[in-house]
Amino acid sequence: MRRWQKAALGGFAAAGVLGQVVDPGQGWEAIPGSFALFGALGCLLLMGVAKGLGKIGISREPDFYRRENERERTDGDDGD
């Protein structure tokens, strides 16, 4: 990432927090930077959940269904 890009991100983040100071919400939304924390932690949580689901068997080879069908057909032919 280039320096100006980092500066732009920093500027946006600062403006975001400042806006929350000017117009605080209710409850946790009134804490300056709470949305930043929510964004970062939420992003990591979603990535973690998705990766975890992938690892426990959701992610499969692209020809998963075709192989399942062909294996069953082969088994069926053997049985006959």
């Binding site: 990432m1 946006f12 964004g39 990535m47 689901l53 499969r60 399942e68």
Partner: protein, 575 residues
Amino acid sequence: MMGIEFPPAWILWGGTALLPLLPRRLRPAACCVFPAAALALVLALPIGASFRLSFGPYELLVLEFSRLGRVFAIIFALIATLGGIYSLHLRETGQQGAALLYAGGALGVACGGDLFTLLFCWEVMTAGSTWLIWARRDRESREAGMRYLLYHLFGGGLLMSGILLHFKQTGSLALVAFASEAATPAAWLILAGVVINAAMVPLHTWLPDSYPRATVTGAVFLSAFTTKAAVYVLAVLFPGWPVLLVMGTVMTVYGVIYAFLADDIREILSYHIVSQVGYMVAGVGIGTELALNGSAAHAYSHILYKALLFMGAGAVLQATGTGKLHRLGGLYPELKGAFIFYMVGALSISGAPLFNGFISKSIIVYAAHEGGHGIAHLFLLLAGVGTFLSVGVKLPYFTWFHEKKEPLPRRPLPGGMMAAMALTSFLCLAYGVFPDALYRELPFAMNYRPYTALHLSEAVQILVFTFLAFWWMRAKLVPHDLISLDTDWCFRAPAPWVRRVAVDGVNAVFDAADRLAFAFARRVAELSVHPLAAIRSLGRPERPFDPHLDRPPLSLPIGLTLLVTVVAAVWVLAR
């Protein structure tokens, strides 16, 4: 004014019928003209306009123009026009006609005034959309199209059952909201039929299964109509049903998790349709005037930016021949224009300020907060994080930047595709900057202001820190050539066994019955011809055909013929 009060869908269906009669070179332009004419009619129709049609003993209200219907009708006709521009290079009358038929069905749903008209237009949409999937003409699209068709025929069957039951109980076909407190079986059946088209989890798999396998241009139309027509029907018939708030909230998060796992860029966008429609369904479930306005506004915005995203993804597919993220990368120098337009759609769907997603999605999130639905509010915010993560950062990063994985062909993009993306981008920005242009079309009065310091700081902080979290983790997020098992695994995995029992097993029974019937018929025939021989052969094992035994002897007739010939010859010679 009375002269123009007829259903706008008829213009598009008329276009479908006329298209094959037009010169081939005029057909692409006609696919823009017919939707533009329908849009002009929608804009000219007054609220309350109606058109009745006699159908046997029934008087059908094929047009009843409501404020809510107008919002959906405008965007349906508008996106059909933009889709027509995107498809200007297309030379397939079948696809062009199917797109008009499909768009007409969606317009018919938005403008119709009774349940029978709704059901008819619903099924027309199924026919047109299935064609757009099959039009890719490969094995995957054929199979996915068949699964899509089965899902929608099942949903249509539920809808029809509900409508018939409702008609039997009430004698009315009017589109009137059902009360959640006194829900009848008919209402539940209708709801079940409608939520299938809304891609409600777990009956959503037809969408990410089929849309990525549709044609480049067909996917743009598909992204716009089916789910949003279902949202319209939910808003008319089921406002304030608490179950919809739960369903919608689940959809928002479910969609973003699966989108993150997907490798096909159009599959990522398809899962985000599930997620974004979840916002609209949740809004209908909240049921307040603000939330219903939010659902209508978000459907309007979503159709624009989602079509734009599918246009951008379609441009990548058109140019390189692949939409697989693990094969893409480094396309920015060659596909700069498509990237810029795609990013307008990506920032819109992510709810970035100045883009149209910001002015619509925030209404629903705010309505959930105001309505005291704290958990739903948190999940809707979390889904926003996931949306920016996949559509706003991961997809463009691994498509246009990152490293080149393999040399891919570079086909030039047609001018119509670029023009449609430019126009749609302009509309996404225009509605984002001038939200009142959309708000004044909404069914209820709007006091909501999107551009407050709190809303802006919420959006900016979430976007910036989601990006930073991605950037930190990006090395671990490199896409792989994998698919994700979804709820359709429940019927796709046992399909071979079901086929063995329900198809092969039934075939075996039929074969056995066939053999028995033929054996019986043969025995009866033998008994009729040679009763004694047939009785003698009873109980003996059957033997193969033996010409010496089974053929009647030919030696006697041949010998007699020869003898007669010889005698006749001798007699003639002796004379």
